[in-house]
């Protein structure tokens, strides 16, 4: 079974990691290095266990184009940068292939140990969702 683990962040969170303070304070160099080391180990473990299908981090929310379904003169309308600074949006994901939802949840739970400044760690969360492999899965 495949699962996707989703993490979220606001533009302000991205700024903090990049060392820029906003309403939230910036990450220290030590925080930043520790997070990098943690993520490297996390991904390496998943790769070794054969459970990692793919993982990606997304560029800052400011670089977003929203392509609407509503048409204007027959063509889709695109909105640049649709998110507010504090809105939490998708920041990264892991696709894992493992024996059960519970195992996928266990993997996601390890992310809770990721080093981060207190104000970030307190609010961090990840979502785990099963991936529908086929139309039959969806209709099931």
């Amino acid at each position: 079974m495949k699962y996707i683990i989703l993490t979220y962040a606001s533009q302000q969170d991205y700024d903090g990691i990049a060392g820029k303070a906003s309403d939230k304070s910036a990450w220290s160099a030590a925080d930043f290095v520790a997070l990098g080391a943690f993520m490297e180990k996390f991904n390496q473990d998943l790769e070794e266990s054969g459970e990692l299908v793919e993982t990606r981090g997304l560029a800052a929310p400011v670089h977003t184009r929203r392509v609407g379904g509503r048409l204007q003169e027959g063509l889709p309308v695109v909105t640049d940068g649709p998110y507010a600074e504090t809105q939490e949006v998708l920041a990264g994901y892991w696709v894992v292939e493992c024996e059960s939802f519970d195992r996928a949840t266990e993997i996601a739970a390890r992310l809770g140990k990721a080093p981060a400044p207190e104000h970030v760690a307190a609010r961090a969360f990840a979502d785990v969702r099963p991936i529908a492999e086929s139309r039959a899965d969806l209709e099931g």
């Binding site: 670089h63 204007q72 003169e73 063509l75 889709p76 695109v78 909105t79 640049d80 600074e85």
Partner: protein, 412 residues
Amino acid sequence: MPDIEVEDLLRGLAPQVLGAVVRHYGHFDTAEDAAQEALLAAATQWPKDGIPDNPRGWLITVASRRLTDLLRSEQARQRREDTVARWTLPGQLLAPAADRPAAESDDTLILQFMCCHPSLSPASQIALTLRAVGGLTTAEIARAFLVPEATMTRRISRAKQRIKDSGIPFRMPPGPERTERLDAVLHVLYLIFNEGYASTSGPTLQRTELSAEAVRLARMVHRLLPHDGEVTGLLALMLLTDARRPARTGPDGDLIPMAEQDRNLWNAAYIAEGVALITDALPRGATGPYQLQAAIAAIHDEAPTAGATDWPQIMALYELLMRISDNPMVALNRAVAVAMVRGARAGLDLLAELEADERIAEDHRLHAVRAHLLEMTGDRVAAHDCYQAAARRTTSLPQQRYLNARAARLSE
């Protein structure tokens, strides 16, 4: 690391950096500002701290960060004004993806195509090309065109806004359109060269930095499209024309016609390079106007003396050129060639036909040529009046001084 080397490096990287940022994030207008700021940062830091291991990567990273900042303040402002930035996806973006991955060198060419987009006026195409592809600052471009910096700033930001509004995607124009757009690119480079070579205004005849920039940009396009005959032809034409620059003005800045120039002053390296380029391009496929003009320039450059010029061949080339381009300047030059082969009277007959063409009837060059041909026939009075008529019609001071001097010589 001397500043001049840093500057050369940056000018070469400028279009690659902007191209990479626009390809990745879009926002041509804001990305252009971000890329300029990254180049400025490098220009102040690198001579002091040394050039980073991967200068291109350094510039792209800095420009991307700057773009993020600029976009955020822009988007925040838009939200305060309660208008969301929306644009309509151009129909062509719904088409399937191109069949091959983009190469880095494509970015420079795509940028050049964007800057010469048909929705822009020639003046805007030139300004945007010099800034976005050439990496010149707005102040430098304003100085070269003798306009206030504020005027050039407005011209460039309007051009960028127009490109953004037109919603053209960042990618190579498809097949048949590409040929058309390449024509526009070559025309812009040709105009930049001419503006530098034969300045239309101001006290000095040549603003050489513009010519040098046009040659640099033409070399760049030639590197990207080495098998295009017209690209090669344009580069050859620029080199073969610029080769005569050192002999074109006297010590007082006065204009010296080609027949009276000291040919030892001509730039032999440029002539050799230009001749090699055009010799290589001519036998390959269709011969366009730039190749023909380069071939004519090569014949002039290779003549050891003015008297040894192969005028019959020049005349034949102008006749070919007339067949593919409806340009009154070509017709005027052909009249000169005909006069040199068949006599001044034959040339004057052709000029009489040209007088009906309103595109050139009031041009000083038509009157100057008529004056020269009349002088050849021995009609000193008519020649004198024609030189003066020509002088009244040019805005260039060196040209006025040259034409008035010719007139004065005849009234002695």
